[in-house]
């Protein structure tokens, strides 16, 4: 699953636009895109905002009713907690592991092979990854042969099996987050590795000649130079994972205290047919990603000048 909001980077310097065309020409080229964007993104966003103030069937104005529901309902509160957990744990671990691997792999000759292995899950859908991991987490009562590798490992150490996806609140949520980490660490690795390799080697060599140890070199030279990349990457991961849906839908459907905002929105829409609440939840998601939007726009304006 691609984050369409991939953090925007330094925009290319705006050069003087060179082509002179008839006034209508640019709009001819833009028209198909503008029609689709208008129909699929712009108009529906405003309409959803409007619907969020109406009842279940979009007939009766209910004011802030749906929002009050969204912020007080018990399951919604669980969803907020879980989304917060996803954002913090998922972003921190994918970026951290990506960074560690980028630095370590640079030192071995089989770097490319390992990178491919870590990166490979990116090609797999969240649905596929969910089934793959559901099998890893497979649970049977103590005494029965365990066919999930995690519980089989526990069994060899004579430990009781764990119902990984049911044990709430931390075990099952962290197990779900692990699936996301497995898929997305490769992305962070690729980005950080490129950034790391762009650091001039002379810097590091010079420090080594001066007798600095590797630990010091990392913290004093490499890390500060990677901070901009790390910041952008972490926000990208956080904004992306706020909308996590597939893993929860396939693995637990939000049961056992694993609900998340996007799955709740889907349930309100299709299971309960409550378009008011569903719209309000969507608006909450939008508000949560707004800072990212403003950041991108600010950066764009800065580059424009």
């Amino acid at each position: 699953m691609w984050p369409p909001e991939v953090a925007t980077n330094p925009f290319p310097v705006h050069r003087k636009i060179k082509m002179y065309t008839k006034k209508s020409t640019p709009w001819l080229y833009l028209a198909p895109a503008l029609v689709l964007l208008g129909f699929f993104l712009i108009y529906p966003s405003f309409h959803t905002l409007y619907l969020s103030f109406f009842d279940k069937g979009s007939n009766v104005f209910v004011g802030a009713g749906n929002y009050i529901y969204a912020f007080t309902n018990r399951v919604m509160l669980t969803a907020f907690r879980n989304n917060a957990l996803w954002v913090v744990v998922f972003s921190a671990i994918t970026v951290f592991l990506g960074l560690v691997l980028a630095v370590l792999l640079d030192r071995v000759r089989y770097e490319v092979i390992i990178k491919s292995i870590i990166f490979m899950p990116m090609a797999i859908s969240f649905v596929g990854a969910s089934v793959i991991w559901k099998f890893v987490y497979a649970f049977r009562p103590a005494g029965a042969p365990q066919i999930g590798i995690l519980n089989a490992l526990l069994q060899t150490f004579h430990l009781p099996p764990v119902a990984w996806l049911i044990e709430r609140p931390w075990v099952n949520n962290l197990c779900l987050i692990l699936v996301g980490i497995w898929v997305w660490t490769g992305f962070c690795l690729v980005v950080l590795s490129a950034s790391y390799k762009s650091i001039p080697r002379q810097f590091l060599e010079a420090a080594r000649v001066d007798g600095a140890n590797e630990w010091k070199i990392f913290w004093r030279i490499i890390f500060p130079l990677l901070v901009p990349t790390i910041t952008v990457l972490t926000t990208t991961m956080a904004v992306f994972v706020l909308k996590v849906f597939d893993i929860i839908y396939v693995m637990t459907n939000g049961n056992f205290g694993t609900e998340v905002i996007a799955n709740r929105m889907y349930k309100e829409m299709f299971q309960f047919g409550n378009f008011g609440r569903s719209s309000a939840i969507a608006v909450v998601l939008l508000v949560l990603v707004l800072p990212m939007m403003l950041l991108n726009l600010r950066r764009f304006k800065r580059e424009e000048k």
Binding site: P12, M19, M122, I149, L233
Partner: protein, 286 residues
């Protein structure tokens, strides 16, 4: 401890850590691959790793699961549907985005900044904001549950990122290329076709891989606009419904998953270079 032994030790530790991580990363996928070739009673009775002990005992491996999944559980049909959905849903948005990025990159017009800022803002809008109104219109037009409906939806949703990335690349082309032609309505298309398009092949390739994988792997958009209708459901939707009805039949689920990841793995491994280049162009580097 001499400096040399300590260096050997730390090298050894480095290799161990790296290889351990790689093995951990691979194990879940290997488990699924092996399980998909095992008979049902074996899968239910012991772990897939027991196969590793007697690898060449071919009596314990079977293709039956693939047969069942493809013919009886609708995965064959869903696999085909995924292709029918993905190919147009990759080509349409890319073509439209190319035209738009060309106009944004090289033409002067009133409202240029505004249009570009709107596209940047749209990059982060959660798709959830759009489902209800679009689905209502789709229902009225009879587009819900149809291939054209989902082609259009994926095209709309894929556009902001595609335009943004193509703009970055196209606006960076050397301006001398554009000087030669005196440009009016007709020759602007000539320039597009013979200068911009050929020079954009690498970035288009990267984007095509993104969009292909995004659509191929998508669950949510398909659930919303195609519902559960089996004649049009892509493989992700089909698998997620099999998880509900065949949750304990791991030999079937794993075979279905493996079928679903073969095309993306082929694309991924054959075009990894473009894929990585696309990530770097789209995310962090300038």
């Amino acid at each position: 401890m001499s400096e040399k032994t300590s260096r050997v030790l730390s090298r050894g530790l480095l290799h161990t850590v790296i290889i351990l991580i790689a093995v951990v990363w691979l194990i879940p996928t290997i488990g699924v691959l092996i399980t998909s070739f095992r008979p049902a009673q074996d899968v239910a009775n012991n772990g897939w790793w027991t196969v590793l002990g007697n690898m060449f005992d071919s009596a314990r491996l079977t293709l039956r699961n693939y047969n069942v999944v493809l013919s009886r559980l609708g995965v064959g049909r869903a696999f085909l549907n995924s292709f029918i959905i993905t190919i147009p849903a990759t080509i349409i948005p890319l073509s439209i985005a190319l035209l738009a990025a060309y106009a944004l990159g090289w033409m002067k017009f009133f409202g240029h900044t505004f249009v570009f800022m709107a596209i940047i803002a749209l990059l982060v809008v959660p798709l959830q904001m759009t489902f209800i109104p679009v689905l209502r219109i789709f229902n009225k037009l009879g587009l819900a549950g149809s291939f054209p409906g989902i082609w259009l939806a994926h095209s709309g949703y894929g556009l902001p990122l595609a335009i943004y990335m193509l703009y970055n690349s196209i606006s960076g082309l050397p301006k001398e290329l554009f000087d030669s032609a005196s440009i009016d309505g007709d020759s602007s298309f000539h320039t597009f076709l013979y200068i911009v398009l050929p020079l954009s092949v690498p970035i288009v390739a990267s984007l095509a891989i993104f969009q292909f994988l995004w659509v191929w792997n998508d669950l949510l958009v398909a659930l919303i606009y195609l519902g559960g209708t089996p004649d049009v459901a892509p493989i992700t939707v089909q698998i997620s419904s099999l998880v509900g009805s065949y949750g304990q039949d791991w030999e079937l689920l794993t075979a279905a998953v493996f079928i679903s990841i073969v095309p993306s793995l082929i694309i991924f491994f054959s075009l990894q270079r473009y894929f990585v280049r696309g990530i770097l162009a789209g995310s962090v580097k300038g």
